[in-house]
């Protein structure tokens, strides 16, 4: 009996045709999260190309490991491989669905591990046009949502960050319904509501017949005229990483 009432509750929103834009927005984002569930763990190499407004270029390379967790946010590790003076500098992050993330930084020159604050959401990640919050894992709880419009297979959803420390008033994200709700583009609006940045996802590839990964991210800052390109190489979904690969010992080892 209990089960019948419970499932009635679940299906009730679907039965009602008068769904609000807020509900529809949240539903699209939930569908996108659901479509990406079950990858387990992955590794990837990244090249970051930073362009300033005069077109001068500098590069960084890094590698990334991610472990998917259901009960809480993902665990991830980043190791810088260039420029050579920061080679081996690495971070370990435990993201949480609720509350601040836990983060450690390893400095290879003095072999020191430091627990660092994760409260810097809006600051740039290593001089790039990506803010820390742009790179953290997607959790439904972090925003409120509003469906805006549909153009063909593309669904436009406004996301308003819940965290007052976020650098954005809103984001407009474009999901592709025909491709498992993968992201095609995000527009970022600053706290004053002015358009700040546009992130475009291109060169998509399908891994394990299920997971879409863009091999190129292009972030353009419209206010500073600076640009950051991220190129992803050697995606590996077969690594089968464990929790033991995301510890302080593993952080030290990964910097080698």
């Amino acid at each position: 009996m209990k089960n019948i009432i419970f499932s009635l509750f679940l299906t009730l929103p679907l039965l009602l045709s008068a769904q609000t834009d807020e509900e529809k927005g949240a539903q699209i984002v939930a569908a996108a999260i659901e479509a990406d569930r079950g990858f387990g763990s992955s590794t990837v190499d990244l090249k970051m190309v930073l362009k300033n407004k005069n077109g001068q270029i500098s590069e960084r390379t890094l590698s990334n490991k991610t472990l998917e967790l259901d009960e809480d946010g993902d665990k991830s590790m980043i190791v810088f491989t260039s420029p050579k003076d920061i080679k081996g500098t690495s971070t370990l992050t435990f993201t949480h669905k609720v509350g601040a993330d836990d983060q450690w930084l390893f400095l290879p020159s003095i072999q020191r591990t430091k627990r660092i604050s994760s409260s810097n959401k809006s600051g740039p990640f290593v001089g790039s046009e990506f803010a820390y919050e742009d790179l953290s894992s997607v959790e439904l709880e972090k925003n409120t949502y509003k469906f805006l419009k549909q153009e063909g297979d593309l669904l436009y959803v406004e996301q308003d960050p819940v965290d007052p420390k976020s650098g954005y008033k809103k984001r407009i994200a474009v999901y592709n319904k025909a491709k498992d709700y993968r992201l095609e583009e995000i527009e970022f609006y600053d706290r004053k509501g002015a358009l700040l940045k546009t992130l475009t996802y291109t060169d998509y590839k399908l891994y394990k017949d299920k997971f879409w990964r863009a091999n190129k991210f292009e972030m353009v800052n419209h206010q500073s005229k600076k640009e950051t390109l991220l190129f992803f190489n050697n995606y590996n979904f077969e690594v089968n990483l464990k929790e033991g690969d995301f510890t302080e010992i593993a952080l030290r080892r990964a910097s080698n």
């Binding site: 930073l50 300033n52 500098s58 590069e59 420029p83 050579k84 003076d85 920061i86 080679k87 601040a100 836990d102 003095i110 072999q111 020191r112 591990t113 430091k114 627990r115 660092i116 604050s117 409260s119 810097n120 809006s122 600051g123 740039p124 290593v126 001089g127 650098g167 500073s224 690594v239 929790e243 033991g244 510890t247 302080e248 010992i249 593993a250 080892r253 990964a254 080698n256």
Partner: protein
């Protein structure tokens, strides 16, 4: 020398180990460093100089196989300086590492850091300080060891260390700065232990984190890393390495942008028993200019029961500092601060700045100013003329 004997053994055994595996990643990297140390105050002692240019080279070679679960790391350091004692080489790292499940073993010369505070590193004891290279004790000599690490998610990390050989601290020569009026020959410093440098030392450390709290507890038994100094009636220095037991605790609370830090040790030797601690905070204002500028404010209080017999001179002192990070593509950063002695009113000021140029040059500028060194300072008084400006350029390739 023992360094060679042990190195040879590590090399042979690890060669045998990785010879049977297939995919091996190798990486060779060089750092070439040019340093210009300029001491603008006239020298306190005869033969000391004002300008010390030096060149150093640090090759690092690494072999990685078994998907990174096995590594062989080699890193050496060679420095050429006008002070003959500062012309030296050291095997910074040369070890074999293997991880399996929740265990990791390391055999060879290695560097290990313990602790959380910024102005003093009380808990950190595994490696000998490279006193020639760094006044602040951040540079270390490679330490031969067998390290076994064990991790469980509910209990944190346990590290066990067997340290078969003690490395002596080296001191500047007669031409060098940061020396006493009499020149100490590092080799003349003896041991309390009959086994001398070959006394087997042991250490264990437990490290865990619970929410916002990071905690470390440590114990060390063996030859102390810091020499014990005595002065005879003629004022001559007599120094030796005592056998010590050292208990350490380090704590950090990470509450948003505020970090609270605490380190404390109790060291027990026949000649001396003492307690010391370092407690402080770091608060960071992030992205102030909406362009990535971070400014951190630091403060620490330092206590050492040895009083003026504390070699660092940090017996009742306040450290204050400001850390500026621009978060730009050149990783520009500045750290400025000072240490004020609450008893003697001695002041020490430092400013360090660094920035990357082109792809592979890093330029750093450091100034260290000794100001109003009190006559009561037992060790620091010897260095009162040793304020410096240091320009360092490193090339990586």
């Amino acid at each position: 020398m023992n360094q060679f004997r042990l190195s040879y053994f590590i090399f042979l055994s690890s060669f045998f180990l990785f010879a049977q595996k297939n995919k091996v990643d190798t990486d060779l990297e060089w750092e070439l460093n040019r340093e210009s140390r300029y001491f603008y105050d006239s020298a306190a002692y005869q033969d000391q100089l004002t300008y010390y240019p030096s060149i150093a080279i640090r090759p690092t070679y690494s072999l990685k196989w078994n998907e990174g679960y096995e590594n062989l790391i080699f890193s050496a350091y060679f420095c050429l300086d006008r002070d003959s004692n500062r012309t030296y080489w050291d095997l910074r790292e040369f070890y074999y590492q293997k991880a399996k499940n929740n265990l990791e073993i390391n055999i060879g010369f290695k560097k290990v850091f313990w602790g959380v505070t910024e102005s003093n590193h009380l808990v950190d004891i595994i490696n000998q300080t490279d006193a020639l290279k760094s006044f602040d004790g951040e540079e270390k000599l490679g330490q031969p060891m067998v390290q076994l690490s064990w991790f469980t998610s509910g209990f944190g990390t346990l590290d066990f260390y067997y340290l078969p050989y003690h490395r002596k601290r080296e001191f500047p020569g007669k031409k060098g700065r940061y020396r006493f009026d009499t020149v100490i020959d590092g080799n003349d410093v003896g041991y309390e232990s009959k086994q001398k440098a070959w006394h087997p030392d042991f250490a264990v450390r437990w490290k865990h984190y619970i929410g916002i709290l990071d905690i470390g507890l440590s114990y060390f038994n063996g030859n102390g890393r810091e020499p014990f100094f005595q002065f005879d009636e003629q004022g001559n220095i007599d120094a030796y390495y005592p056998l010590i037991d050292q208990y350490g605790v380090d704590l950090q609370i990470t509450a948003g942008a505020l970090l609270l830090k605490f380190e404390s040790i109790y060291r027990d030797a026949i000649a001396q028993k003492f307690f010391a601690f370092d407690a402080g905070f770091e608060f960071t204002f992030t992205n102030i200019d909406k362009n990535g500028l971070d400014i951190g404010v630091l403060g620490e209080y330092l206590y050492d029961e040895r009083g003026d017999w504390s070699i660092s001179g940090l017996q009742d002192d306040i450290f204050y500092g400001i850390r500026v990070a621009f978060n730009d593509t050149q990783d520009t950063a500045i750290l400025a601060g000072g240490i004020h002695d609450l008893e003697t009113n001695t002041n020490l000021f430092t400013i360090e700045g660094s920035r990357r140029f082109k792809k592979n040059f890093v330029v750093s500028l450091e100034t260290r100013v000794f100001s109003g060194i009190s006559e009561e300072e037992r060790f620091l008084l010897f260095f009162k003329q040793d304020s410096l400006i240091n320009l360092s350029v490193s090339k990586y390739f």
